[in-house]
Subunit: 465 residues, 2 copies
């Protein structure tokens, strides 16, 4: 580890500069006008893999954005780690809430990061966390300390539901064979409370169009006599949750796994300061499903959030219009053992059922992903746990995360190997939000911890054989 | 009348060309980036009044958009007609629903207008209808047939609630003294069913901002535990109307005038084809307050319509955001004897009362106007009735309109004279909507009828003395 830490120390500034170059590329996958930037980010990574000594670096075509692949096979008898990450980022809107340009990374000190944090879209999710692996691999290759084989795939559609990753994986099953899949796209409980994510929520993302009259009308001439699609949409959305904030879609909770009192008590033992939580968000009260704590609501319970809504006149001033159409984007976070395709169907059917005859509704599914729980008794989890214990000086806690990484379930199904979610972010990193940032300390802690994972994984695998 | 009709016939094309020049100016009052165009429209009118022989033409300053004034006093012992109109127009959005450029007027034939209709923003509301008065005045001046004095005011803020007209009127009470106020900014029942508007709904236009967390959040990390301002806004809006589509704001109906069965039967006798109404709007069902007909819902009953709503991610694709803010523009149409300021206060108080502690709501009043009922037994109404009977060949029907002209009540209060709402539009003119249009037939029928009004008003006033 001495050699490794020395190499990291000597190259800190260059590592940051290389990450910054990647962060400057606005590779937003949700908006097709950034297609060229998405491709630039893929090319940048491919060249970078070649530079650090990885082999077979390639920008692999898919029906959508390409997947960047690279590997280093040192001995076919040794185990193989498959690293997964993504180079695409969320849209940066609303731009006026950013304190600096989302695509011009800067380091600023914050209360949580007195040594500085990198502010940029993708700083944490996932360019920053993915790039830790690239730099850890460079470090191991340069110090001749890579103890097993490695394959890396970096995709460009994670933020839009990894729509073509299944296509890619199914066509490269042989090439992607591995013994463990390592992903850094999650967060820890705190800088001094390392943790490994052992559960992820699934996702079902829907879009709704409500049509009333066939054209925009004068709200004085027609108001009161013709259904207003915005009023109707508000009523439909409101009816999706009852007064206890439980979701009213028939069958929605049928497969939801209820945790035992013992399990819930164990989760409740993890430190959590609700006053500090409310203060950091500027809210007077939390709000969620009756009978569950804030932590439970954000991890082991399903949700229904409107992610966007629009209709009618939304510019400056006033317009007395009764609009023809209203729209909403609605997503549900799912928990074991809900099935995202089934939930999407239940949502669609229910929404169509409750719509009044005075309007037409169109419900479409954007994308989704299955919820996931990872085992904590295998070699993979043990290797991650030992690695973090070594670099953080304390054993990491297992934790359920509220977010979704749709491909985790896919990997297990198609590649028959276990996934380790060893993330170094913090919930306060504001991923998907304005002023996304990633601690410089966290970035280098990740680069230091990843080689320790490889070492322990190689050793534990050998012991097991 | 012979001379008048000959003059109109000989100048038809020029009248249209002059209107088109005015329609080409995008004088949108709701959006400050059109301020220059608003001023251009005012200047165009001032010069036009000078050209046709009106006197004292002036662009009068106000704290907002100016009022154009002109007059022609032929004899101080004769009665004076005050004409009111507006040169500002509604925004043209959504632009993609227009079949031709909203600010490049064209004449196209339609089922309702086989002789052609003028398609442009403001074609009917109110540039087209206001310009009929300008051309009728030109005709009377040129044919030496103006039988009384005339004053004209054309304002530039009607579409944003005439916010400064009260300021202007109060400062020019002497100058604006008159015996009747004539306005063409309403519609008739049909081309073959002339009508005069005797009732107008009032308006209260509110804007709402709901704030949840102090910045946009990741809906996976926080979803379920933190109130989503869009979900909350939907619930609040939904709760404003009950299952019978009655408005739930306490006190809202307290001053609403209930019409007698006899009055309702009389209104119901006016021809109305609900099947054709639904077909023209492309809706399967009408929807409105239980216990009232479609015509009643759109005229003698108050309403609550969301005119605009927005929040979160509203671009292409998907973003899993739990937004910080959500917004809505909500307007209520009011009926006698509701008071718009009282209703705005009741709305604000109720909305703040029902908001949960997990969010903050900010409710602001955009503007409003009082509902209005005009008498049908005075000289003013009789003169309009006789004028229409003369040019349409049948007696016009009195009718309640669903729209609002906020200044009507103000005029009566400040200037102590009666208002006549003699409009020549049709409900199918799509004012405030894409493809606004105004029948060429209606435009010239108005120019022909207005001089008849002056003639009958002068005669009836003399008889009364």
């Amino acid at each position: 580890m001495e050699k490794i830490n020395t190499y990291i120390d000597q190259n800190k500034n260059r590592f940051l500069e290389e990450l910054f170059a990647l962060l400057r590329i606005p590779s937003i996958s949700a908006d097709s006008k950034y297609k060229k930037d998405v491709l630039s980010a893929a090319e940048y990574l491919k060249h970078h893999f070649q530079e650090i000594g990885m082999e077979n670096a390639e920008v692999c075509e898919t029906p959508g954005n390409p997947v960047v692949y690279a590997d280093k096979i040192i001995d076919k008898n040794l185990p193989t780690v498959l690293v997964y990450g993504h180079y695409d980022v969320q849209p940066a809107t609303p731009l006026d809430q950013w304190e600096s340009d989302p695509f011009d990374p800067v380091i600023r000190k914050t209360d949580i990061h007195p040594q500085g944090a990198i502010f940029a879209r993708g700083a944490c999710d996932d360019k920053g966390q993915m790039f830790m692996h690239v730099k850890a691999l460079e470090t191991m290759l340069h110090t001749q300390s890579l103890p097993c084989n490695v394959k890396v795939i970096v995709e460009g559609e994670e933020e839009v539901g990894s729509v073509n990753l299944s296509w890619f994986v199914q066509r490269h099953l042989e090439k992607l064979q591995n013994d463990v899949i390592l992903i850094s796209d999650t967060s820890m409980i705190a800088k001094d409370i390392p943790s490994i994510t052992t559960g992820l929520r699934g996702l079902s993302y829907m879009e709704i169009e409500v049509t009333g009259p066939n054209h925009d009308l004068h709200s004085g001439v027609y108001g009161g006599a013709v259904a207003n699609p915005i009023n109707v949409l508000a009523k439909l959305i409101a009816s999706l949750q009852d007064k206890d904030n439980r979701i009213t879609i028939p069958g929605f909770y049928d497969r939801v796994k209820e945790f035992s009192t013992a399990e819930r008590q164990k989760m409740a033992a993890v430190p959590f300061d609700e006053q500090a939580y409310k203060k950091s968000l500027g809210i007077a009260e939390v709000q969620g499903e009756k009978g569950y704590t804030t932590r439970e609501r954000a991890s082991i319970r399903p949700t229904l959030d409107v992610n966007g809504i629009w209709g009618g006149y939304i510019e400056e001033g006033a317009k007395t219009v009764l609009p023809s159409k209203a729209y909403a984007k609605i997503s549900m976070r799912l928990v074991p053992d809900q099935d995202w395709k089934e939930i999407s169907e239940l949502f669609k059917k229910h929404f169509e059922d409750i719509a009044p005859k005075s309007v037409e509704v169109k419900v479409t599914t954007h994308h989704g992903g299955e919820p996931y729980v990872t085992p904590i008794d295998g070699v993979a989890f043990q290797a991650a746990s030992k690695a973090m214990e070594e670099t953080f000086g304390k054993k990491p806690l297992p934790q359920f995360s509220g977010g979704s990484i749709p491909i985790v379930a896919l990997f297990e199904r198609e590649l028959k190997s276990k996934v380790v979610l060893m993330g170094f972010g913090l919930n306060s990193d504001d991923i998907h939000s304005p002023n996304e940032n990633y601690g410089v300390w966290n970035f280098f802690k990740g680069i230091e911890t990843i080689p320790a994972f490889y070492k322990h994984f190689a050793t534990l695998t050998k012991e097991e054989q």
